[in-house]
Amino acid sequence: MMETYVRSLGLYLLVTLSALVVLGANTTAMAAPQSQSEWVQQPHLEARLLSEFSTISRGHLYTLAVQLEPEAGWHTYWMNPGDSGLATQIQWQGPEGSYFDAIQWPIAEKFNIGPLSNYGFEGTTYLLTDFSIPQNYEGSEVTLTAQVDWLVCEEICIPGSAELSVTLAIGMPNPASENTAHFSTARAQLPELVAWPAQFDIQDRQVTIVVKSADAVAMASEAGFYGFVGATELVEHAETGQIDTADDMLVLRRTLNTYNSETPDSFALQLTHPNRSVELRVSSAQQPEAVDAAAPAAASTGDVSFGLVLIFAFLGGLILNLMPCVFPVLSLKAMAVANSHGNEKREALWYTAGVVVTFLVFAGLLLALRAAGQALGWGFQLQNPWLIAALVFLFVAIGLNLSGVFQMATRLMSVGQGIDTHTGAGAKKSFATGILAVIVASPCTAPFMGVALGYAITQPPAIALLVFAVLGLGLAAPFLLIGFIPAIARLLPKPGAWMDTFKQWMAFPMYLTTVWLLWVFGRQTGIDALTLLLIALVFLATALWWLGKLQLRSQPGLFSRILVWVFLLLTALTYYSALNMPSQPTASSNGTENGQVSGQNWQPWSADKLAELRANNETVFVNMTADWCITCLANERVALNVDATRTLFAENDIVYLKGDWTRQDPAITEYLAQYGRNGVPLYVLYVPGEAPKVLPQILTPAIVREQVLSQ
């Protein structure tokens, strides 16, 4: 009874409301659609609103324009008004759910007032805004209102505001022909939107903006070129700043604004000269926040996505199952599980736990070792040639092992055959079996563990642990699967000779990895050091081949055993001399003879190298840089990596060392601290017999020259 009453009341209300809505629609319909508002007169400026279309459809984007007509000599302001003034603001009103985009600002002009500057617009100015009305809008017309607030200035300023409305019909879109000319003028006043990569950073109260585009470089060479920074109080507005170009890179250096208190993540930049204007976004090139000494280190080589690494770790774990000393065990266990009834799921889970825990313990051990190493000052990063070279040895050894040149710990392997005797029911036993599976399988799994190890040693602890856990999960996966779906056990291939062939196939990815590592090493050091490392590899291969031959004999002679060690020693010696090879000899050898310097003229920095050069009374220039440091990049392109400076260094026999702090190499952190710095760039000039000279953080060829020559 009550319910019916409420329902009919609801129906009544609905009907009444609908009637009101229809009535409302009718009243607005009486005002004829108008795509131009009335002019609103205010002191020194009049304003109106225009619509590009007189009839619009729902859910699509159309454009409105606020037209400002200031008196001659008066101007309104851009998104960044400069040292004073206010950007024009528009607040939009339309039906609920309407969308209004940001103002599309026209090309700005610069107005100088005494020592100060403003950015804005004189003459007829259109502020375009895209909008849409919602799909569910029900009226046959729509009224859109702009509440516009501006500041109009000559020498003096007057604030003004206006409420401007247009009413548009809903239906088949139809342009407002009376406004067409206005909109084409308005669009001609807009800068061309471009997506040129651009970044900025702030060092030493200098804002450095780098735009990577040949077009930007071409624009900068034109008369009347200027860069309008669309952030308030970021740069000093009055100055033009310093403009440099290098190849396809435009470098704008501006003084940080005295009243800078907040730095935006990104801002709009208008580059303009009388014949072309573009607008682009410049984003902040901030130093990575987490300062982890062992952060991912694939800087010179391109980052592998972390998800991909986890997939590979899992696949790697799966492949472990196919290794000759794991697979027979797996198939036996699989049969046992498939035939047992009831507890197989629990057993499979405990087995998995055992495997994963063992892998984690192993990873933990590795990380502890690494931490100990770091405390001793070893940086486990791919910037270190010694680590790259060590990884090269590791991978070649793994490859040779997989190819069957030599075996790993054959005695352990025979123990492994007995694994099935340890199997049994019960959680503890399964867990123990998991642990045992890992240990016993280690002769076969070691090669793959080596890959994971090589990766993990360069990673932060959490990532390294995760990689190992996933590797373990991969190893346990078939078992887990069989535990839950016993029928799968029948699908497993039978153990056989194919396993060995498969293992040998796996050697080739290892060799490819070696090639990649050698390439990294070669780039870091040079062709001479690379050649020495290759020789060391030949010695290593010889040692391992001989070891393999010995493994086949029952009683190898003493001399034969010594021979293995001789070749290993030769490997170590060659490795050592490869690392101590003066890298990139190009700079020192051809510098003085002909004054022509080409190619890379710097060597990687290390504390030892610097100490050695200074002990030899060499003049040394040290540049500490990082990929994310835009100031550093700009300095290199503008002042260091230019012919004038190369020649200067060559003629004065200056050894140029460069340190890369992209991944916060602790050795460099320590070096920076010596000069009271905790960031890059840092430029230090060492002249024999003089105190080290720290150069400014903003360089030009002239500054470098002056510092070098005033020695």
Binding site: G114, L151, E155, S261, N652, I698
Partner: protein, 206 residues
């Protein structure tokens, strides 16, 4: 070649030093505030040293500027002046408008403005040359500075957080200047010592 380069060095040095790295002398927070010596509407010359031991507020002003009108018309500026001067703060309103520009006033008219608006500055300084304004890098009216009793600059920037000429925004804005001045008087650190100054350009002589 090396000798030639050495001979060239002084020339290059000069070239390098002309590079556009020099900026306007910017006032620095935490450093001694720039000194000044400017005559007020009574003909008395004031310098920063005269106020040693007292906190000093500098307010750049131009009575015809809409942003100044916003804060005087609403009584906001006067109430800040009263609050500060009652606590022994020296409040100096500074006019750096050059003769013939907006905001430039005779001493008598400046006093009349003070009386009419019921303003409570300690003194109104007439910086016609713009020397004091440039020393402080004052850019707009109103532009606010707080100097602690030890002569150190503690705040430079806007009066509040909403850049507009609309008095209705005053209660909604975060009062940057007032917060800074109150912190200095309480001996606390100023949370935001530099903020965006907004207003009309100071009408300096070119």
């Amino acid at each position: 070649m090396k000798i030639l380069l050495r001979l060239l060095a002084p020339v290059l040095f000069v070239c390098a030093s002309v590079l556009p790295f020099a900026t306007q002398a910017a006032p620095e927070i935490g450093k001694p505030a720039p000194n000044f010596s400017v005559v007020d509407t009574q003909g008395t010359t004031h310098s920063l040293a005269d106020f040693a031991g007292k906190a000093v507020v500098l307010e750049w002003t131009n009575h015809d500027c809409p942003f100044v009108i916003k804060h005087y018309g609403s009584g906001n500026m006067q109430s800040l002046q009263t609050e500060m001067t009652e606590q022994g703060v020296v409040w100096l309103s500074v006019i750096s408008s050059a003769p013939g520009t907006q905001g430039h006033v005779s001493p008598a008219y400046a006093d009349e403005l003070t009386a009419n608006r019921n303003a409570k500055p300690t003194a109104v300084l007439l910086d016609e040359s713009g020397e004091m304004g440039r020393a402080y890098d004052a850019r707009v009216t109103p532009h606010m500075y707080v100097i602690s009793s030890d002569g150190i600059l503690r705040y430079a920037g806007g009066i509040d957080s909403i850049p507009s000429a609309n008095p209705a925004d005053i209660p909604r804005a975060e009062p940057y200047f007032a917060n800074a001045a109150r912190a200095v008087l309480a001996g606390d650190n100023v949370e935001r010592p530099i903020t965006r100054p907004y207003g009309c350009t100071v009408k300096y002589a070119d």
